[in-house]
Point group: C2
Chain length 568, copies 2
């Protein structure tokens, strides 16, 4: 199928375009998709010439370094590695490499480019090397399910969204048998290295693999890459996780559209729930991009120990003020994980999990007597539909599925009820109509922005360089991101330096701490300094669709620029 | 606020850009929004030079011409008007004009450009003319609420989404008193003309106004413009309504993203409900752009007199076939109005409306005995949550709010129940997890595509030309849309020629018949010829975000190209 070109402007939207495809199952491409395949990606200049690796000082851990040292005797304390220009590549081993790569966890735009980056590194610097893609996430390592990636296989996925080149999975390599399986695969494929593309858990797992392989004297080195649209895997050396930029811009496009609709119609309050269960970075970034009237940041709710009633009151008060000004419309952003941040809700859910696990829930409601009075009060305060969701929606372990709770609808009902009471009392005579939205899956597999495309390519290319240089147990780190791409820095950061321990079932477990929204950080402070203005005055910004050429096509996220101190 | 430019690529996403604004309340613009303001719009060449109006043969009506002729004695039978090049504009009156414009009904991307087009026509061809914008829809005409539009006022809205320049409203001018009010405003402002930008109802209303003004010997002429994202206002001379192109591309972007996610994850069936209550054009267009596994077209359901069970069975059968092939994922498109198309559901709702209006609904369910057996059977077949929605969600007239029913969730539950039964019977052992989406408000106020921007500008500019030429009771008609813009045709079509009558409360009411999806039309036939392939094989296409430059930035909708016979 080729595009039917009809004079000027006669090409159909989403017209199929022929693309040479071997790997992608039955792939048919839109014009925009296919135009992205050959989009040339700039590389940081250190990656375009001979380089060598310079080590920094020994590292420690994010917390409890003694425990982390005990858990990772072979890789703890490694220095950060930085690539710097060199006269020649002679320090690098002149050998063909066998490298594996795996995608772990949820989709994030740019994953395919990390793989392209690794592949191109090997082509450019270690000719004759082999790259294996493990299929379906870490399970592919354990079950030795893989595909050999060549340039024809990779080509149609360049700069494309999704993880469908080799797919992903949520399994973890945890038990001694599972580590054994991973070792067997590493030995069988004679792997020099493995790149794990994933979030905080997956990178913790990558480090455990690195430790295990080294402990067993296997040559297989392990490098992590920071992936998550949620933006909660980051540190000084890893300024952002990939996918965050694209996902936020997709959500911000939709929010901006809804804002213009709200202003044009003048009669709806749009409650928009956004992905990000553990941290509210997406919500904060979208707020900075679009200037909604109300934004709830989970970390602030938790820090201030707010109740659901406090959150409702905050919303209601702004609705009242706006009604006085004649605005019976607005846009409200809510992080998916909001209720996880509210202590009283966590208590209620913990109690419900206990009751549902051990007791009979009678129709008459006698079971409710088992709730503490605070939880009972909260339960009765909740809209009926939410009560039902709490009781009925369970995960396979019988626990309440908090992620399934439609927080945006819950808040609409609670605000509605409160306003109705005020109307009866004569203190409110505005109009309130809520519209609920959840922007989630739409953002995980979009075409990566120019930033994510380039950043991921550098992460992958850099991961290749780190493996080639003999590094293990480090995460690919690309920095100086506010500068032109040529000036970006490339290196690796010891994964153990990001770790702390948590006590689970009486044992210390290493964890990479999720990076939460810092209430003292520049992004939150900027938001906090502006939100009262946004609440009352309508400062809506509509970012429009992601552009690959022209205006804003190279814009960075506010979060990144503010954290880098580049934007005031 | 100016963008903080930081070297290469250091501009923040959604950064505010200063725009000279007088009209737009507290307007702050993203970089993409502000880049669109000065986007130069091409005009059909007939509008760039002197022109004259050539009349075609007398027109009739879409149905019951005798009744339409009786209802519109002053404007019935008017010929179509076509603008053709002329040696000079001397045929046009050399006078300043006073023109009003009004936005009527729901938002559609491009409305601001219709207004810019009218304004620029007046500036270019009738210098010194005045353009009034009626605020808040037809109510603005009746209450004489208006603003004088000048170039500073209009400037920031050029090529922008939304209707917020003068806002819209859903009032109609219907009663004798309301027509009187409209006359008074027309006389008070000494209006030579009025442009009504709206859908089928609003254009019917425009024609009634034209008839009334002419009947009263007022000089005020009335021109309609075809607006609706639903795409159901069109005819031979009006190939498409504006906004359809942009809205479908926004929805298709999201659907394409969800498709890549479905394929990457391999574990979700995404049920996507799309706007379009009366007609399924949006759903069909999005299907042609993205190739989902299953698409339900309301008109086909109605034509085949399908039941809800038939629709469920159709979905279940494809899910079963896909499970056999190892695909436990998919994407399903559903038009918002689906249940309106199902006769048995219409019956049930009619019966419920009766019962709820006149009877007591008892907890015990005795009221159900008042349902016919077919309706009772259907009611019991519905998931509980939907039963509750049917009973509880009422509009101000006490009627069931069909639009509030989350059809996508209803279908997920029904498919789930059916598959569970089959699992028990041993005929299904796949996995089924539904994810629901509603793409609606996001599409009504996006930045208009290049097509909608240009088309709307031509519609508005053409409306100015029609008024200037003395036309009334016609709808602005821009054709030959598959050709380069220069070759587009410009004219007007008698609104009465689009009309038929409906009998309401014993009286004939004129109506512009909604253009439904034609099962014998090229778009549906193309879809029907491919859907079995799409169902089983995964032919997903991800159109990506709307681009304003480069690839696909001038693509037309499949529906339009197929209806024009340009695409096979």
């Amino acid at each position: 199928m080729t595009p039917s070109l009809v004079a000027n402007g006669g090409v159909a939207a989403g017209e199929a375009v022929a693309v040479p495809v071997t790997g992608r199952v039955a792939a048919v491409y839109s014009e925009v998709q296919s135009s992205r395949i050959d989009h040339a990606l700039p590389l940081p200049s250190v990656l375009t010439k001979p380089f060598k690796v310079v080590d920094g000082p020994a590292s420690s851990a994010a917390g409890n370094p003694d425990e982390i040292a005990k858990l990772f005797p072979n890789v703890f304390g490694q220095p950060s590695a930085l690539l710097v220009p060199s006269d020649s590549d002679s320090a690098l081993p002149q050998q063909k490499l066998k490298i594996g790569v795996v995608l772990s966890g949820g989709q994030a735009p740019g994953g395919h480019n990390v793989i392209s980056g690794i592949f191109d590194y090997l082509q450019d610097r270690a000719k004759g090397s082999t790259l294996y893609g493990f299929r379906g996430g870490p399970a592919g390592i354990m079950k030795s399910k893989y595909v050999e990636l060549n340039s024809e296989y990779i080509y149609p996925y360049r700069n494309q969204g999704g993880f469908d080149m080799i797919c992903s999975g949520r399994d973890k390599i945890e038990t001694p048998e599972q580590f054994k399986q991973a070792e067997e695969t590493a030995v069988k494929l004679d792997l020099d290295g493995l790149v794990v593309i994933g979030g905080d858990d997956s990178n913790t797992n990558a480090c455990l693999l690195a430790e295990n392989f080294r402990g067993k004297n296997l040559k297989t080195r392990v490098i992590g890459c920071p992936k998550t649209i949620d933006g909660d895997l980051k540190c000084k050396e890893v300024p952002t996780s990939f996918g965050f930029d694209t996902a936020c811009k997709i959500y911000a496009e939709m929010i901006g559209n809804v804002m213009i609709d709200a202003r044009s119609t003048g009669k709806y309050y749009h409650f928009v729930r956004l992905m990000g269960r553990a941290a509210s970075h997406i919500t904060l970034e979208c707020a900075l991009q679009t200037h909604p009237n109300i934004t709830i940041i989970g970390e602030e709710v938790a820090a201030k120990k707010q109740t659901l009633k406090n959150v409702t009151d905050y919303i209601v008060n702004i609705v009242l003020k706006r009604a006085d000004l004649g605005y019976n419309y607005g846009v409200i952003l809510i992080p998916e994980g909001l209720i996880d941040f509210i202590p009283e809700v966590q208590n209620l859910i913990a109690e419900l999990n206990e009751i549902l696990a051990h007791d009979v829930v009678d129709e008459g409601g006698l079971w409710k007597n088992k709730l503490t009075s605070q939880s009972l009060q909260l339960f009765d305060f909740l809209p009926e539909a939410i009560q039902e969701q709490l009781m009925l929606e369970r995960d396979p372990h019988g626990n309440v599925q908090v992620a399934k709770i439609e927080t945006e609808k819950m808040l609409i009902q609670m605000v509605e009820t409160d306003l109705e009471k005020r109307r009866q009392e004569g203190s409110y005579n505005g109009q309130f109509k809520g519209q609920s939205h959840f922007f989630g899956y739409e953002g995980r597999c979009g075409l990566p922005t120019n930033f994510d495309s380039t950043y991921c390519y550098a992460l992958g290319y850099g991961a290749g360089a780190l493996l080639h240089s003999g590094k293990t147990g480090v995460i690919s780190s690309v920095g100086n991101l506010a500068a032109p791409v040529e000036e970006w820095t490339v290196g690796g950061t010891a994964l153990t330096s990001l770790m702390d321990v948590e006590r689970r079932h009486g044992k210390f477990k290493p964890v990479i701490k999720k990076a939460m929204v810092e209430l003292e950080g520049a992004p939150f402070k900027k938001f906090a300094s502006l939100r009262n203005d946004w609440a009352i005055n309508n400062r809506y910004i509509s970012p429009g669709p992601i552009q690959f050429h022209g205006p804003a096509s190279n814009a960075l996220s506010h979060t990144l620029l503010l954290e880098l101190g580049v934007q005031a």
